[in-house]
């Protein structure tokens, strides 16, 4: 089908419909769900979505249901290989158990980044990072 459809958002995503997809958002959230629909802005409709968090060698899932994601917030959209998805060398643990560690990691990272930005600005002559401050 590659040669029949030009490389546009629609052309690239048409094969992904009704497949289980991984979506990473700009805020770092990782969602897995079945892609049901999209449009020219890559707004996405994800069904049976679960949010996954990772920490160390563990991961946890939390069911989130039906999502309509505004395309600009998407960093990555990838198909999940159903044959291989269970082969990951990570422990599946309870969401409530892992969540505090995950939040903690986010806080730590945020503080580190703030500190780094401060050093760069005050000592190294860099300008302040504009806007949202993420790398995207």
């Amino acid at each position: 089908m590659d040669s029949l459809i030009p490389f546009t958002t629609s052309g690239a995503l048409v094969d992904c419909v009704d497949r289980k997809m991984l979506v990473i958002l700009r805020d770092g959230r990782k969602l897995q769900g079945v892609l049901r629909s999209y449009d020219q802005f890559a707004n996405l409709v994800l069904e049976d979505t679960v949010e996954r968090i990772y920490h160390g060698n563990a991961f946890a899932e939390f069911p989130r249901g039906l999502f309509l994601i505004r395309g600009e917030n998407v960093v990555l959209l990838g198909e999940i290989d159903l044959d291989k998805e269970d082969e990951i060398p990570l422990r599946h643990v309870d969401y409530a158990t892992l969540e505090p560690y995950h939040q903690n990691a986010i806080e730590t990272k945020k503080r580190r980044e703030e500190h780094k930005a401060q050093v760069l600005f005050e000592e190294k002559g860099f300008c302040k990072e504009g806007g949202e401050g993420d790398g995207y």
Binding site: M1, L4, I5, S10, V14, D15, V17, D18, L25, R26, D27, R36, S37, Y38, D39, N43, L44, V45, E47, D48, R64, G65, L66, F67, L68, I69, R70, N73, E132
Partner: protein
């Protein structure tokens, strides 16, 4: 990529092309914004890019994803402060994502199927009624976006 209502005319297309058309027509019937349109009066959770969330019932939306909600519970990004609002307007460009009731997708599909069946029985024999057939208006067109006046100039105030 299965579609129960494969218009017969598509059978004559080469298979890969046919798959593409079927998939596209499948999507077209419930584009993200059509789904949002169909979610009017349904409860939903809207998260903004800054992390604030708004829980409420959808009153209306337009093609920019601007929305109005009623009976809203607003939270700050940390989720530790709450506000209750009677009604609020959210500019589409500030939205990160919207969470919709799980069953809505089925409801919309059912509605479309019924509309399509109605369209079939209305049309005379042999006529292929895909989308755009008589008597089976695709949902989400015409009904939405009443907020835009006249010719849709000026997206601002």
């Amino acid at each position: 990529m299965q579609c129960k209502y494969l218009p017969d005319v598509l059978c004559f297309l080469p298979s890969p092309r046919r798959d593409a058309v079927v998939a596209l027509s499948h999507i077209v019937t419930m584009l993200p914004l059509s789904l949002l349109n169909a979610a009017q009066n349904k409860p939903m959770l809207v998260e903004l890019k800054n992390g604030e969330t708004f829980n409420g019932h959808l009153i209306n939306c337009d093609n920019f994803m601007n929305i109005t909600l009623k009976e809203v519970y607003q939270t700050n990004p940390d989720g530790d402060r709450f506000w209750k609002l009677k009604e609020c307007y959210i500019r589409g460009s500030t939205i990160k994502y919207i969470r919709i009731p799980e069953n809505l997708l089925d409801v919309v599909k059912d509605e479309q199927n019924r509309a399509r069946e109605a369209g079939r029985s209305n049309s005379r024999g042999g006529h292929i009624s895909g989308r755009g057939g008589r008597g089976a208006p695709v949902r989400g067109r015409g009904r939405g976006a009443p907020m835009r006046g006249g010719r849709g100039r000026g997206r601002g105030m």
